[in-house]
């Protein structure tokens, strides 16, 4: 037997850590989603698709900025010492993923604004003709536009990766302490973004392309999840116990049903049939993918806080 009794009962810490509520999973999901949206936008701009007025890359930067701002607000709500938030921007701590994140969030906005200005949506160009002039000037410089696309893809990748590293750098929580987490969150973000773009794109060929891409990302996500668990169950006792929290413990129903079945496998089957023209494209599968991505962040954040090192020394 091993009976452990403590007199400590600190709020948010005991009996198990529960410092991060809904705000952090929502923010991590939004970070991944917007990262994916930036990569898709960057790809379309790089490929020269922005010249088409119906290209989804004209509206994605603005949507991305609005959604990311909502995510940053959720992050702000989570802070306990809100009046001191500005302290984040007086320093850069190279060993702190959160410091990297704070600065990445600042850097992605100019990149998204630049991609927005490549071909300003009509609503804005009619209202603010100066925006249209900037677009015209930008489009005269083909390589500048291509570079805006590349920068959006790179910064989108960095944003998506950081959302995973933020957790995996916290070695005290064995479930998060996986080198696969950044890849899982990046691929899940790309998948959610593809599903989102699939729903908002006007052009049929873009919808088809994004549905096919989403299928690829969902299959890749299954592989990454498998590797995540292989890494866990072949590691130390605390890591094995952490994996079991998701596989057969209290977070297993949410993981198996909402993340794997409803969030990946079933929408993947629906979308495979849709791209094969056996059934029609509907928003059902993309919505399932997006909700599944959100639940994945909730499950990982909550289950990770539930896991801990136990003292085996004495």
């Amino acid at each position: 037997m091993n009976e452990y009794t403590t007199t400590r009962h600190n709020e948010l810490v005991d009996p198990s850590l529960h410092i991060w509520g809904w705000e952090i999973p929502v923010y991590l999901f939004i970070g991944g989603l917007v990262a994916g949206m930036m990569i898709v936008t960057g790809y379309f701009i790089f490929k020269g698709k922005y010249k088409d007025k119906a290209c989804v890359c004209r509206v994605l930067p603005l949507l991305g900025m609005i959604i990311l701002s909502a995510g940053m607000f959720a992050l702000f709500l989570d802070l306990e010492h809100k009046l001191y938030t500005w302290r984040l921007y007086l320093t850069f701590k190279v060993a702190s993923p959160m410091s990297w994140g704070a600065w990445i969030l600042i850097v992605v906005y100019p990149a998204m604004i630049a991609s927005f200005l490549v071909n300003v949506p009509e609503y804005f160009s009619n209202k603010f003709p100066w925006m249209d002039k900037i677009s015209e000037k930008l489009q005269q410089h083909k390589y500048a536009v291509k570079n805006i696309g590349v920068v959006n893809m790179l910064l989108g990748g960095l944003l998506g990766i950081y959302t995973g590293v933020l957790l995996s750098a916290l070695g005290a929580r064995p479930l998060w302490n996986s080198p696969m987490l950044w890849l899982l969150f990046l691929v899940s973000g790309l998948s959610a973004a593809s599903a989102f773009v699939h729903m908002v794109a006007k052009r049929v060929d873009e919808r088809e392309l994004l549905a096919k891409a989403d299928n690829g990302f969902l299959i890749l996500e299954l592989f990454v999840i498998a590797l995540f668990f292989i890494g866990m169950v072949t590691s130390t006792k605390v890591h094995i116990d952490s994996a079991l929290v998701l596989l057969s413990g209290i977070y297993a129903p949410a993981f198996w049903v909402f993340v794997l079945a409803l969030g990946i496998v079933i929408p993947l089957i629906i979308q495979l049939l849709a791209v094969d023209h056996k059934i029609k494209h509907t928003p059902v599968a993309p919505i399932m993918v997006i909700v599944g991505g959100l639940v994945l962040r909730f499950v990982i954040v909550y289950a990770g806080q539930y896991t801990r090192w136990v003292d085996a020394a004495f």
């Binding site: 037997m1 091993n2 009976e3 452990y4 009794t5 403590t6 007199t7 400590r8 009962h9 600190n10 709020e11 948010l12 810490v13 005991d14 850590l17 410092i19 991060w20 989570d78 802070l79 306990e80 010492h81 809100k82 001191y84 938030t85 302290r87 984040l88 007086l90 320093t91 701590k93 060993a95 702190s96 993923p97 959160m98 410091s99 994140g101 704070a102 750098a169 916290l170 070695g171 005290a172 929580r173 130390t236 806080q305 801990r308 090192w309 136990v310 003292d311 085996a312 020394a313 004495f314």
Partner: protein
């Protein structure tokens, strides 16, 4: 440079919680929160059981993840003996340090900043022992420079079997328990 640490004799600790009360009084720790606490750890198979009573707190780790993960530099290592401290008006309350600590030694002060044991740095600066050490009625706690081979803590560690908490987490804790 000195490297402050603590040695706790589990053969003498009776779990009276005097250290807990002393800490709360000395540091004005808010109600319902603790910077130090008592653990009763029972292991083995009946009737062959072994019980260890010990007082726990921040381990002021040499390789402190709470300092590395802090995005503002609020969590830092003090020049005086490597004590890990938090600058209150630099802390944004992001709670990354709480998540990074394998000992769950930190909490959020009701005023919004991350709070934890300071080894009573204000007393140590004056050459005094931390409050918890100075009040212990069984004299089971020792505080001193682990880098000085002639200090009482170093001598105890050299002469008695001891362990630290969760050494496998790799944080190099600076509190040791004599068994």
């Amino acid at each position: 440079m000195a490297r402050f640490g603590m040695v706790i004799d589990t053969k003498k600790c009776v779990g009276c919680m005097d250290c807990v009360v002393a800490c709360k009084t000395e540091n004005d720790v808010p109600e319902a929160f603790n910077r130090d606490w008592i653990v009763q750890d029972v292991r083995g198979k009946n009737p062959d059981l072994h019980m260890e009573i010990r007082t726990e707190r921040c381990n002021h780790c040499d390789n402190s993840p709470c300092v590395y993960c802090c995005p503002t530099g609020a969590s830092h290592v003090h020049d005086l003996g490597g004590i890990v401290l938090v600058t209150h008006d630099l802390c944004i309350g992001c709670k990354a340090c709480l998540a990074s600590c394998p000992y769950d030694a930190r909490f959020i002060n009701p005023d919004g900043y991350a709070d934890k044991c300071t080894f009573c740095v204000h007393r140590v600066e004056k050459g005094l022992d931390p409050a918890c050490v100075s009040v212990c009625p069984t004299h089971c706690m020792y505080f001193g420079d682990l880098d000085d081979p002639n200090s009482q803590v170093s001598k105890l560690l050299a002469s008695r079997k001891n362990h630290s908490l969760i050494p496998e987490a790799g944080t190099k804790p600076q509190i040791f328990y004599l068994v």
